[in-house]
Symmetry: C2
Subunit: 143 residues, 2 copies
DNA sequence: CTTTAATCAGATAAAATAATCCGATTATAA
DNA sequence: TTATAATCGGATTATTTTATCTGATTAAAG
């Protein structure tokens, strides 16, 4: 396996990047997200519901409804999505799976992995969605 | 989820660290590995077989049989185990799950993730098992 | 030669994750 | 007010991963 994010989380990150890259307050129905990102349509409501519960997006029922960001892109960071979907446990567990790995009882990779973990966290939290607009548009157009 | 290694791979890394930390040429039956590392006994043969096929360890059948390293610990690196169990695909795929992520069509995290991936690879390949002997002994004694 | 203790290999079961389906509800717009 | 198009939520299915079971084989030791 060797996954970093679950599929749900990957999809959620892609979807929210897509929303942030578009006109503010645009509403996206499942169908549109599915087509633009090649995500199984029926699966979308599953992870977008989690994001709705977390207050990151809002859902609008009925005709011409769909999902949209609940905040301005500048107020959202990728780590918020990861936390909502996968949680932050993996930033605190031993990479080798040893129990009670700590500075007192470190595993052979404890220190190195600790550094990488911090860098990974930074990667997800140092920028907000506003910063990713342009590159996201380009990426999506290339799919 | 947000896993880095599969459970199989974690177990395999732990098991091979254990073997490398002991007297050279010691033979370890399933039972012993299971007890020392709290790994389900029946599951051990599953991933140790993969390591046997890869030539990292040898299995000895019959009474007083078991598994032992096929090479000196100084000739084995953690990346060898990862490659044998999980493969190296994750070092080449997009962290956000976008298709065809590349320098020409990068995802928003392409560069940052690229750096981290290299550091992760280094973490697994810069040292050999000989280096981890002492810390492994301490870690296992603390379980 | 027989007993014993181990791996091996294949089948199966359980659990987690990913994907699909469908009826109920909701709200827009004709 | 009615038809339409969307989410919502629960149930179900499929797939993958993890774990267990069992019988066959092997080899050491008495």
């Amino acid at each position: 396996m060797t996954v970093f994010f679950s599929k749900k989380c990957e999809y959620a990150l892609q979807a929210i990047l897509l929303m942030a890259a578009s006109e503010h307050e645009s509403v996206f129905p499942d169908e549109e997200i599915s087509k633009k990102l090649n995500i199984p349509k029926e699966f979308i409501s599953k992870f977008l519901q989690s994001l709705t519960e977390s207050g990151l997006i809002e859902s609008k029922k009925g005709k011409s409804g769909g999902f949209r960001l609940a905040k301005h892109p500048s107020k959202i960071k990728l780590i918020n999505i990861v936390e909502a979907i996968d949680g932050l446990d993996s930033f605190n567990t031993c990479v080798l799976g040893f129990p009670k790995c700590s500075a007192e009882n470190p595993c052979p990779l404890h220190d190195k992995w600790g550094e990488l973990r911090i860098k990974a966290y930074e990667m997800l939290s140092e920028k907000n969605l506003e910063h990713f607009k342009e590159i996201t548009v380009q990426k999506i157009n290339s799919i």
